[in-house]
């Protein structure tokens, strides 16, 4: 089973490689990727350096082109595909049908992974991407139960990658308009959920307030855990009460499910967090590398250690870690 880790810059890429990532995924400094934040990501020189660093250590690099091209700037996305091919990136992560078609026709040797933003949850959908564009791997949306993941794996020749760790959102992947509703920008169109220019944090007598385009997202009492300033994680007044009206901030941690993933033939697990620092990438990658190595040695006796759980827990957003939709005994 392969470990896929995030990098928002060259130091994070090196941290991922040095701590045992098999693949590192990254984005360019524009709206072609869904972490289009100021100062984050790779320019051409950093991309070349990153690919060289990873390849020298026999690891692979993925370029995330996981947003939806806009009609007026279509060339930005095709140029990014061309750049990936020219710089020797091992595969690209794509969500948009038109861009998949372009990449498949123009660079037949460039491997294609279907982004989670493509929101393909059935083997029929995934097989369509395979037959039509030669997609090699699909990242599953975080809405499927373990039984549903197994059913997908059983009915497709496409490698299946699942999320293992990191922040969760409402998981309307590729279709969420909450950020755009409040501030006009969405991850799908310009590559950022709650972009920095629309976010304000303010200390007030009532507590620390976060606002998105002046919409109050949350107000934190002293010492209360904070969350990313996204609409889905806010507390709102609804029918006379103030509470998490959409979802409570939570982090996914599926490390205890690794034996199940292995048994059902999941090809790779992915760590969320291109916006996080090299310290996070190093610490989280290290734990997951140890876990996958332990699993490979003896899947029967695999048990997450308290040290792993503690190391992962401290990086979690929100006050709870969950198994997400994977654990859903009911049907």
């Amino acid at each position: 089973m392969e470990l896929v880790c995030p990098a928002g810059g060259l130091p994070a890429l090196k941290a991922a490689v040095d701590n045992g990532a098999d693949w590192v995924y990254l984005g360019l400094r524009d709206s072609t990727n869904a972490r289009n934040f100021a100062g984050l990501n790779f320019d051409e020189a950093a991309l070349a350096a990153g690919v060289a660093y990873a390849h020298a250590r026999r690891r692979k690099v993925l370029l995330a082109l996981n947003t939806y091209p806009q009609a007026a700037t279509w060339a930005r996305w095709t140029q990014a595909v061309d750049l990936a091919a020219a710089k020797g990136v091992d595969a690209i992560i794509v969500a948009d049908l038109g861009l998949l078609d372009y990449a498949h026709r123009t660079h037949p040797k460039l491997k294609l992974h279907l982004s989670v933003q493509g929101s393909a949850t059935s083997h029929e959908a995934i097989n369509f991407y395979h037959q039509r564009f030669g997609v090699r791997r699909a990242v599953l949306p975080r809405v499927l139960s373990l039984a549903q993941v197994e059913n997908v794996v059983r009915h497709t020749p496409v490698e299946i990658e699942v999320f293992g760790f990191g922040g969760l959102c409402v998981m309307v992947e590729g279709r969420c308009a909450l950020s755009a509703y409040a501030c006009g920008d969405s991850p799908n169109t310009m590559g950022a959920c709650s972009p920095g220019h629309a976010v304000r944090w303010e200390e007030t007598p009532a507590g620390l307030e976060s606002r998105l385009n002046r919409v109050l997202i949350d107000r934190y009492a002293p010492g209360e855990r904070a969350a990313y300033p996204t609409l889905c994680k806010g507390r709102f007044e609804a029918e006379g009460a103030t509470y998490y009206a959409i979802e409570e901030p939570a982090s996914l941690n599926t490390i205890e499910m690794l034996p199940e993933f292995l048994r059902m033939g999941v090809r790779a697990v992915k760590i969320e967090g291109r916006q996080r620092s090299p310290a996070y990438v190093a610490q989280v990658t290290k734990v997951w590398r140890q876990a996958i190595d332990s699993l490979t040695r003896d899947a029967e006796r695999f048990r997450p250690t308290p040290e792993w759980m503690a190391a992962l827990n401290r990086h979690a957003e929100g006050s709870q870690q969950t198994l997400g939709a994977f654990s859903r005994p009911w049907k």
Partner: protein
């Protein structure tokens, strides 16, 4: 009032400006990346010592800011957490979730500062390496 709070703000602000400007000279930071910071003041405040250091970036270099205008960006944490961030032992979002790091003001500037610091590749510094 703590003793440290009685000390003048200027010397540490000058020292921080020098250190930041050294980042340009050594090729660790590209001025392009800091363009959004032009003309902006940043206040770095320690919650445990009660001290603050303010700098302004003029598009070419940082210098101490000793005026009275409110800062465009304020970053607040403890000395030990600032140190852990600088040494890349801590992730800023981890500290932010647990309220150990607070950024107020212009969030876009905060992201620029954070991401530019995270992108510094210290291995590019021509430091003498220990002999094996």
């Amino acid at each position: 009032m703590k003793l440290l709070q009685l000390l003048p703000e200027a010397p540490p602000a000058h020292a921080l400006s020098l250190a930041l400007n050294a980042g340009f000279c050594l090729g660790l930071v590209a001025r392009n990346d800091l363009e959004p910071l032009s003309g902006k003041t940043v206040s770095i405040e320690t919650t445990d010592l009660g001290t603050r250091v303010r700098v302004v970036y003029d598009g070419i270099r940082f210098r101490a800011y000793l005026g009275s205008a409110p800062p465009d960006l304020t970053i607040r944490s403890t000395v030990s957490d600032f140190l852990a961030l600088a040494l890349r032992r801590e992730d800023q979002d981890t500290l932010f979730f647990t309220r150990r790091l607070v950024m107020t003001g212009d969030t876009e500037l905060g992201l620029v500062v954070k991401n530019v610091l995270d992108a510094i590749d210290w291995s590019r510094l021509p430091l003498p390496r220990p002999r094996s």
